[in-house]
């Protein structure tokens, strides 16, 4: 029999929830932990594996099922969690030395909801320190690798979560987005990754990087699996004032409907062109052609301010980061370097605790907010962000969805961009604008390059159309046949 881990999530959970079915949550969790033990030495997707806790939670769930209790839609599904989300009793490091030894006192809202739905947290995954990066090489605890080519990066910052799902270690994972940190690794690892509409998912228990951009997002091998996790984690939360409920509107219904008549936006500023990989360009063209063949129409349009996406993002995100990361001062938690007076204790603890990229962004943000420069940088960037949002509203009056590449290129080699911060920032050129504008966007698999590297296509919809977008992802798979394909490494362990 194939591994239960390879079943669609809904089917897996239905088996576990059925007391007459022989498949138990304990078996599923055991299969996940065995794959992690066999493969993660090469991938380094996990920073912490909670064997004992996962087995205990699985046994508890099986007991409840045996007693005839109803369990949730993720019953027995192993879940990997990016290590910037709080899971009660487990380490929470953000892949930073500054949080070494920190144990989370409570569950993030998304974790509490996933657990209540029956998901079993098996461990915490690697990331770029404080989610700042696009390759998962900025981790203080060592880089993660791409399951399709171990010499390459999985993308980032949620690279550990993406690699864990792609390698078949877990069916589902949680990541977080600030400028593309779910979609870009999903694209580079050949899976589905969703950036929800800002406010759709609670940020309570997510370590803040840039609060006006941050959003927790789900990963899965299919759009259906990803939607199953999205439905569980979303909704208003009294512990996050920016969260709210999004009723299913006509935009979502349109995306979930027939492809005939669907207006597919092709935005000039999201075209990869000569700067990107020709195989990525070809993959996007194939997807668009498949949509057109089924009755969709292409609408060519321009969103001029998208050209300023990276500059605006790299003012706004570092500015908010410099403020949010001020809390890491060596007093209440985290690493402390002793000094005879308080200011030196702060400054030395922060120098020793933060890695180079985090310091770079804190300095950039401090500069952008400093006296004499705040008007020219921060206020100006926020003004452009408001204008970009208006241009997006206008764009969605003319089309139902934007279809583009997620990343201009497939997975790059480890170390290739590590010495060039700006080159790393430009990895996010196609994703940051959705964070700045706030809308939902998903990356879905769109085939592989001749070298076998996955390529992703980004679907971006109007605010609140999340579940429609994920439904469109499933329709697209049906239309193109382009789906997740397990890497060779995943077939080593049954």
């Amino acid at each position: 029999m194939a591994s239960p881990l390879d079943l669609p999530v809904a089917e897996l959970a239905a088996c576990v929830a059925d007391p007459r079915d022989p498949l138990r949550a304990a078996d599923v969790v055991d299969a996940s932990l065995r794959r992690i033990a066999a493969l993660d030495g090469r991938l380094h997707a996990f920073l912490h594996v909670d064997d004992a806790g996962a087995r205990r939670a699985a046994a508890d769930l099986d007991d409840r099922v045996a007693r005839g209790e109803a369990v949730g839609p993720l019953a027995g599904v192993p879940l990997a969690v990016k290590d910037n989300l709080a899971v009660a009793g487990l380490p929470l490091t953000c892949a930073s030395k500054v949080l070494g030894g920190y144990v989370a006192p409570r569950d993030a809202t998304v974790i509490a909801r996933a657990k209540a739905a029956g998901a079993i947290v098996v461990g915490k995954t690697n990331l770029d320190e404080f989610a700042m990066g696009s390759s998962t090489e900025n981790s203080a605890f060592g880089a993660s690798r791409n399951p399709y080519d171990l010499a390459r990066v999985p993308g980032g910052s949620s690279g550990g979560s993406a690699a864990a799902v792609a390698a078949g270690l877990v069916p589902l994972a949680l990541g977080s987005e600030t400028g593309g940190s779910v979609r870009q690794p999903a694209s580079l690892c050949g899976i589905v990754g969703h950036k929800p509409t800002y406010g759709r998912v609670s940020r309570n228990g997510l370590v803040a990087f840039a609060s006006s951009l941050d959003q927790v997002g789900p990963f899965g091998r299919s759009a259906e699996d990803t939607a199953a996790l999205q439905r569980v984690i979303e909704g208003a939360d009294p512990l996050d004032a920016t969260s709210r409920a999004f009723p299913d509107g006509p935009a979502a219904a349109r995306l979930a409907g027939d492809l005939a008549g669907l207006r597919v936006g092709v935005v000039e500023e999201l075209e990869v062109g000569a700067t990107g990989d020709p195989e990525v360009v070809a993959a996007v063209e194939r997807v668009r052609a498949a949509l057109v063949a089924r009755g969709a129409t292409l609408v060519r349009l321009s969103v001029p301010l998208m050209k300023a996406g990276i500059p605006v993002y790299y003012v706004v995100a570092p500015a908010e980061c410099s403020s949010n990361l001020a809390r890491f001062d060596g007093i209440r938690y985290g690493a402390r370097v002793d000094a005879p007076e308080l200011d030196a204790l702060y400054a030395r603890s922060r120098d020793a605790g933060f890695g180079a990229e985090v310091k770079r962004r804190i300095l950039l943000g401090t500069f952008a907010l400093s006296a004499g420069y705040a008007d020219a940088f921060y206020k100006r960037a926020m003004s452009l962000r408001g204008a970009l949002r208006e241009q997006m509203t206008a764009a969605f009056a003319r089309c139902d969805v934007l279809v583009s590449a997620t990343s201009p290129f497939p997975a790059f080699r480890a170390g290739e961009k590590a010495g060039d911060p700006l080159a790393m920032y430009l990895c996010d050129v196609l994703t940051v604008t959705a964070n700045l504008a706030g809308g939902p966007a998903v990356s879905v698999p769109a085939g592989r390059t001749r070298a076998g590297l996955p390529v992703g296509v980004q679907l971006w919809g109007p605010d609140g159309s999340d579940l429609g977008l994920l439904a469109l992802g499933a329709t697209l798979r049906g239309a193109t046949g382009l789906a997740y394909e397990a890497p060779a490494l995943a077939r080593e362990v049954p």
Binding site: G101, Y102, V103, P105, R106, S212, P238, A241, T242, R244, L305, K307, A308, I310, P311, V312, Y314, V315, S322, A326, D329, I331, R332, G334, A335, R336, A339, P340, E341, L342, D343, A344, Y346, A347, R348, R350, D351, K359, R360, I362, L363, L364, T366, F367, S370, A376, F377, R380, A381, M382, S383, L384, R385, G386, A387, R389, E390, P421, L422, Y425
Partner: protein, 99 residues
């Protein structure tokens, strides 16, 4: 915008990060290149827009200000303290007041 050694040191001071001389030297050309790119925010035409649309927390969504249970101090909060007093209820810091 030209990033200098002095500017990096000034910003690091504001950010409370004690950079080594080697870190400052590495940071100068990196920040210069990054700022050279993000300076584009000054030369793009934004047109007219409504800044209120950017408010992430419309006041109507705020919950009532009602007292509710918080974290347990001894069990949850002090457990992560780098240094605490012998009773385990206070964070220890260097002396901040003169004798």
């Amino acid at each position: 915008m030209h990033v200098t050694d002095a500017l990096v040191r000034q910003v690091a001071k504001l950010a409370r990060i004690e950079l080594s001389d080697a870190e400052v030297a590495a940071m100068v050309p990196q920040l210069d290149r990054i700022l050279g790119h993000v300076e584009a925010v000054g030369s793009v035409d934004a047109g007219a827009h409504d800044p209120a649309a950017l408010d992430p927390v419309p006041s109507a969504t705020l919950r009532p200000d009602v007292e509710a249970p918080s974290l347990d101090r001894a069990k949850d909060v002090m457990r992560n303290a780098p240094e605490k007093d012998t009773m385990g209820v206070f964070f220890l810091v260097p002396k901040v007041l003169e004798d």
